[in-house]
C-alpha cells in the first residue's frame, strides 16, 4: 500500500508487558499519543501482563516512578476508543472487566487473532 496524503491505515498497538519494571508500557503510550495526531485508525490490545497497564488502583509512590495510568483514561479524548483485552490474560491473573480503569472490549484469543489479522500495521511493545 502506497502511503500518500490521506491514507488511513489500521494501526494496532499491542501491549504485552507490566506497567512498571520496564519502560515499554510508558514509551508505548507515548507512541499512541503521537499516533493520534496522524488521523489513522488506531486500536490498542492488552495481552499477557499488559492487562495490568489498565488495572485500577495503581500506586507507585513506593517505587518512585510516575503513575501514568490516568493517561489511559484520556485516550477517549484523542478518539482512541478501540481497546481490546485478552480474556484469557485477565482470567489467568484473577482480574475482571470491573478491575479496569477504562471501557474495553474483552475478546477471546481467537477474536484477538482475527482483529490482528485485519490490521495494516502492528506495533508490539
Amino acid at each position: 500500500m502506497e502511503g500518500g496524503p490521506g491514507v488511513i491505515k489500521k494501526f494496532m498497538y499491542v501491549n504485552r508487558k507490566a506497567p512498571y519494571g520496564t519502560i515499554y508500557a510508558l514509551e508505548s503510550l507515548e507512541v499512541v499519543l503521537i499516533a493520534a495526531a496522524f488521523d489513522q485508525d488506531v486500536s490498542l490490545a492488552f495481552i499477557d501482563d499488559g492487562v495490568y497497564q489498565i488495572a485500577k488502583g495503581q500506586r507507585t509512590k513506593g517505587i518512585d516512578v510516575k503513575n501514568f495510568s490516568p493517561t489511559y483514561r484520556a485516550l477517549e479524548g484523542y478518539d482512541i476508543e478501540k481497546l481490546y483485552v485478552a480474556k484469557e490474560s485477565l482470567e489467568q491473573r484473577g482480574l475482571t472487566e470491573d478491575d479496569l480503569l477504562v471501557d474495553v472490549q474483552v475478546v477471546s484469543a481467537a477474536e484477538m487473532a482475527d482483529l490482528m489479522d485485519q490490521q495494516d500495521v502492528i506495533l508490539s511493545f
Binding site: 502511503g3 507512541v31 500495521v121 502492528i122 511493545f125
Partner: protein, 119 residues
C-alpha cells in the same frame, strides 16, 4: 517491497539489533527497499558514537553507519527516548539523525510492511 523497521532493544545486550541488521541486509540484497529504520526504547543506544566494543567483536554502531552510507538508509533515533538515555547530537554516530515519534508513524503509513525487532 518497501519495509519500515523498528528496533526496540540496545546493542550487545539483546539480539534484536543484530537480527534487524541481518534482515535489512538480506532484504536489500533481494532488491527490497528499506524506507526507514526507527530506533526506540533502548534501541536508541545503537546510535551512540561513544560505543567501543572489544576488537574481536562486531561493531554494531559502525555497522549501522556503513549501512546508511552504502545504501542510503534513513536511520532515525527517537528524540524523547534518546534524551532519556544520554544520546544527543554531539554523541550521535554518522548516518543517524534524531527526530520525533511521528517519523515512526509515517514509516508505518508509507511502508508495505513494518517489522518490529524487540523483546
Amino acid at each position: 517491497m518497501k519495509f519500515g523497521i523498528l528496533v526496540n532493544e540496545g546493542p550487545y545486550t539483546h539480539q534484536a539489533a543484530d537480527t534487524a541488521y541481518q534482515f535489512i541486509k538480506a532484504a536489500i540484497e533481494k532488491g527490497h527497499e528499506i524506507n526507514r529504520v526507527f530506533f526506540y526504547h533502548d534501541g536508541v543506544n545503537n546510535s551512540s558514537s561513544l560505543t567501543e566494543p572489544p576488537q574481536d567483536d562486531r561493531n554494531i554502531v559502525d555497522r549501522w553507519s556503513k549501512l546508511a552510507k552504502d545504501h542510503n538508509v534513513d536511520l532515525v533515533v527517537c528524540v524523547a527516548a534518546a534524551l532519556r538515555r544520554g544520546i544527543k547530537d554531539n554523541n550521535l554516530a554518522p548516518g543517524f539523525r534524531i527526530s520525533g515519534l511521528g517519523q515512526l508513524i509515517e514509516t508505518g503509513i508509507q511502508s508495505d510492511r513494518l517489522v518490529v525487532f524487540g523483546d
